[in-house]
């Protein structure tokens, strides 16, 4: 009995570690520096409006890509956790092989940075 308790606690510890490794939360990307209110660049009205339209479309596309990537991450989360449970119970070192989807999460952060750059340009061009 004295041995069984530490063993079960050990197993519980593995299980908690597996759940943690398999489904870590991703922090929200950092906010960009405050957009400056510099005078708008010398640009004809037509060209400015055209550029604003392009920026709006590009931002929309990037947001759509983010939405799709987030759906993939959310879909994989439960799958990763199930793998984590089994690894914890059967062979704990296998937990290290669980895909934490770091690459996808970094890609999300990169897309957000692209959006921020386009939002800064929108601000500078006074797009409405």
């Amino acid at each position: 009995m004295a041995k069984a308790v530490p063993s079960s606690l050990n197993r519980l510890g593995h299980l908690l570690l597996a759940i943690g490794l398999a489904g870590c939360a991703r922090s929200a990307p950092d906010l960009p520096p405050t957009f400056t209110s510099a005078p708008p660049p010398q640009m004809e009205d037509g060209a400015r409006v055209q550029r604003c339209t392009v920026l709006k479309t590009e931002i929309g596309n990037l947001r759509e890509e983010i939405r799709v990537a987030e759906d993939v991450i959310a879909g994989r989360r439960h799958e990763d956790q199930v793998q984590g449970y089994f690894a914890a119970v059967l062979f704990p070192p296998a937990m290290l092989l669980i895909d934490q989807q770091k690459a996808q999460k970094n890609a999300l952060d990169n897309r957000q940075m692209q959006i921020d750059a386009k939002l800064a340009e929108q601000h500078n061009l006074r797009c409405s």
């Binding site: 405050t34 989360r77 601000h123 797009c127």
Partner: protein, 149 residues
């Protein structure tokens, strides 16, 4: 050791019965690059901050909170002053509760913005739900609180 297990089970049951699906935390810091413009109005800003400290303890009018705009974009058709950057986290209380949602993060951002006297939260971005240091399900969000001129 039996006592330890009994305590653990009791704690788990109490948490389960607590009825709070989520709990949250939030805070504000100055926006990077906004210090220069804020320093010009330092006395007024200090007064404003002191006033905010006292009003934080008061209950905020839900109508004021609901009126605060939250957007992932910038606001380009109205000039504004930056109040600060808000970061909030919504956590689920137990492993059995539902995962926190973006709507809950938005609501928390609105509350924090209302405390600071802001009119809107712009450039909002969210994290991805997962296990955090303090919770079985955690989702955080950030945004820039602004006040219209």
């Amino acid at each position: 050791m039996n006592k330890f297990f009994r305590c653990t089970i009791m704690t788990a049951v109490m948490l389960g019965l607590a009825g709070c699906a989520t709990w949250s935390a939030g805070g504000m810091k100055p926006a990077p690059g906004a210090q220069q413009s804020a320093s010009a109005e330092k006395p007024a800003a200090n007064q404003d901050r002191n006033r905010r400290k006292t009003t934080q303890r008061q209950k905020i009018d839900p109508a004021v909170v609901a009126a605060i705009a939250v957007t992932e974009n910038d606001i380009t058709d109205r000039p504004y002053d930056v109040v600060g950057d808000i970061k909030v986290t919504v956590n689920k209380t137990t492993i059995f509760n539902k995962d926190p949602t973006r709507e809950q993060v938005d609501e928390k951002l609105r509350e924090e913005a209302a405390k600071a006297g802001a009119n809107a939260v712009i450039l909002v971005r969210y994290g991805t739900v997962g296990i955090g240091m303090m919770s079985w399900g955690s989702l955080d969000g950030q945004g820039r609180a602004v006040k219209f001129k």
